[in-house]
């Protein structure tokens, strides 16, 4: 026969376990939803992620769109960076002045740590939103304005040209390389494509202004069967 206080303790334990079980289920459901929404979201997933955001985003259980696939072999996964040419005068066009300094993001550092990866990530965000299919001038403009403004502030210049550049990678089999792409120089400018180009300057009120310049132009470095070598070819990893 059990003593009444022992029975009471067991009942309390069962209630505690029930409450904990419920909390565990809710927590794991939130985590499962945000993790399964890491790449391409359905409308339902997007809605659920926004409902759980107060919990999952605040504690960063939601990796959002962090590319845990590292690469999918698309051109957009190739290295992308930002360069900022700085000019002293805001009043004169860049053609009439010398470049005072050029900043590159990332600049220096080691690829074994995240610092360089952060700069690549920001450049890829800009590049993605500068692509013809996904063009979002507000977003690309906000990045270019902020980065350009920071570069001007830190160097004491008043005009800048912010560029986003991507360098295409070489295939393993160099015989599939398109004509015009030097096999022995994977860093040759031929491999580079400018995806975004904007003038940024400080106006008389001290506000940072931006004017987008160019659209992208890109040439694939790999041959694709019978297609012309200078035409965009299917991705090397596509079927």
């Amino acid at each position: 026969m059990q003593l009444p206080n022992t029975q009471q303790a067991k009942d309390d334990g069962a209630i505690g376990r029930s409450v904990l079980s419920l909390l565990i289920c809710i927590h794991l459901f939130c985590v499962a939803v945000v993790l399964s929404s890491n790449f391409r979201r359905s409308a339902l997933q997007a809605r659920l992620v926004s409902i759980f955001a107060g919990y999952t985003k605040l504690l960063h259980f939601d990796p959002e769109f962090t590319p845990y696939y590292y690469t999918l072999g698309r051109t957009s996964d190739d290295d992308t960076w930002l360069t900022i040419d700085l000019y002293p005068s805001a009043d004169q066009p860049v053609g009439q002045q010398q470049v005072a300094k050029t900043i590159r993001l990332p600049e220096g550092g080691s690829n074994w740590f995240e610092n360089r990866a952060r700069a690549f990530q920001l450049a890829k965000l800009l590049a993605f939103n500068a692509e013809p299919g996904n063009e979002n001038d507000d977003l690309t403009g906000e990045i270019a304005r902020s980065v350009g403004g920071w570069a001007m502030r830190t160097t004491g210049n008043h005009r800048a040209v912010v560029r986003c550049v991507r360098r295409m990678s070489q295939p393993y089999d160099l015989s599939t390389l398109s004509a015009g792409f030097p096999a022995d120089r994977p860093r040759d400018p031929t491999y580079e494509a400018m995806l975004y180009d904007a003038d940024v300057w400080t106006d008389e009120d001290g506000q940072v202004q931006l004017l987008k310049r160019a659209s992208r132009a890109e040439v694939a470095p790999r041959q694709s069967g019978t297609s012309p070598t200078t035409a965009p070819s299917p991705d090397p990893t596509s079927k």
Binding site: L59, F61, R167, Y172
Partner: protein
């Protein structure tokens, strides 16, 4: 006849519910040895400190209020990309590029080191988590691969009695039950529900994380066709080593790269399923060393790779861990699990 069938079905359902409840309780609520939590605490704290330390050179560029992406710009970009700017709280939004920023940054490193050494373990764990989240929320657009893993490990280990072993708390406050402060900060060396809960949450979260990593790779032809490892090595700016010499190996080199890519994907897909089986677990944990060392070299995500390797320790039984690290195997006696009523 149907009356008997209904009665049998009800009995079967009841048995199943009872069995499921017992298993559920055993999985989540059986007291566990806090040693694995303590070992994980040291590694996670040390890697968090390294993570903060390597941010140092680019602190002003990315994390100062007047950095490359101002808090307003970061919030606007979040809104424009449909992510929503809410729930991104960071004390770094208020600190410009100055000595103060470096002081705050040094404090973050100190919190992480305190957690690693087990000084005021639960408090330093929570402070390390807050510091880490502040960096993430300051500029979410450039958050890396390691932060989501660090955040859940820090959260779960702050819950656990992670300072029970190998900690300064243990030296300062002892393990006496009389020291309630010591028990609160470090936890007791006795098997506990919190130790089990924390370990189980880590295990389940890690398994789900592997599933996510494996499944997202299936979206890309590069992983299906085995060229992903080469594509990563062929990057001229972000690569960790120049792998162009591999071409001299011709087809054999390409086959080896294909094999590595396939191994990574199969491993990540198999992990969340097979890690729960006793037979496959040792093989998967051994394979994880090969896979993560490869990924570290190929992607350059050194700290992330080491952290993912360390998460494998959550699946090593406490007794095995004791013998591996040379701790006294007789010190721990698993508490008999008393079956509880199903929830």
């Amino acid at each position: 006849m149907s009356k008997f069938a209904t009665s049998d079905s009800a009995e079967l359902a009841e048995e199943f519910a009872e069995e499921f409840g017992q298993r559920w309780n055993r999985f989540w609520f059986a007291p566990a040895d806090p040693l694995p939590c303590s070992v994980l605490r040291i590694i996670v704290g040390a890697l968090a400190a390294c993570h903060f330390a390597v941010m140092g050179p680019s602190l002003n560029t990315w994390f100062a209020r007047d950095g490359a992406l101002s808090p307003d710009a970061a919030a606007k970009i979040l809104e424009l990309s449909g992510g929503g700017a809410g729930f991104h709280l960071s004390y770094l939004n208020y600190i410009p590029a100055c000595t103060g920023l470096y002081i705050v940054h040094a404090l973050a490193i100190i919190f992480a080191l305190a957690f690693a050494t087990g000084l005021f373990t639960r408090v330093s764990g929570v402070l390390t988590l807050v510091a880490m989240l502040s960096y993430v929320h300051r500029v979410p657009q450039i958050a890396g691969h390691i932060e989501p893993v660090l955040s859940y490990l820090l959260a779960y280990l702050s819950l656990a009695p992670a300072g029970a072993y190998f900690s300064l708390d243990q030296r300062l406050f002892g393990t006496s039950k009389k020291s309630s402060l010591g028990t609160f900060l470090a936890g007791s060396t006795q098997p506990s529900l919190l130790a089990n809960l924390s370990l189980r949450l880590i295990q389940v979260h890690v398994a789900m994380f592997y599933a996510m990593m494996g499944l997202t790779k299936l979206y890309g032809d590069a992983w299906w066709q085995g060229s992903a490892v080469w594509v990563l090595l062929a990057q001229t700016e972000s690569h960790t080593l120049d792998a162009s010499g591999l071409r001299r190996a011709g087809e054999m080199g390409e086959y080896a790269l294909n094999f590595l890519a396939h191994t990574i994907v199969y491993f990540e897909l198999a992990f969340p399923v097979l890690i729960w089986t006793r037979l496959a677990r040792p093989a998967l944990l051994a394979l994880s060393i090969v896979v993560w060392l490869t990924l570290i070299v190929v992607t350059g995500h050194l700290l992330f790779g080491l952290l993912m390797l360390a998460t494998g320790l959550a699946f090593v039984p406490a007794q095995k861990l004791r013998s591996l690290i040379g701790a006294n195997a007789n010190e721990y006696r698993p508490a008999p699990y008393e079956p509880a009523p199903a929830v």
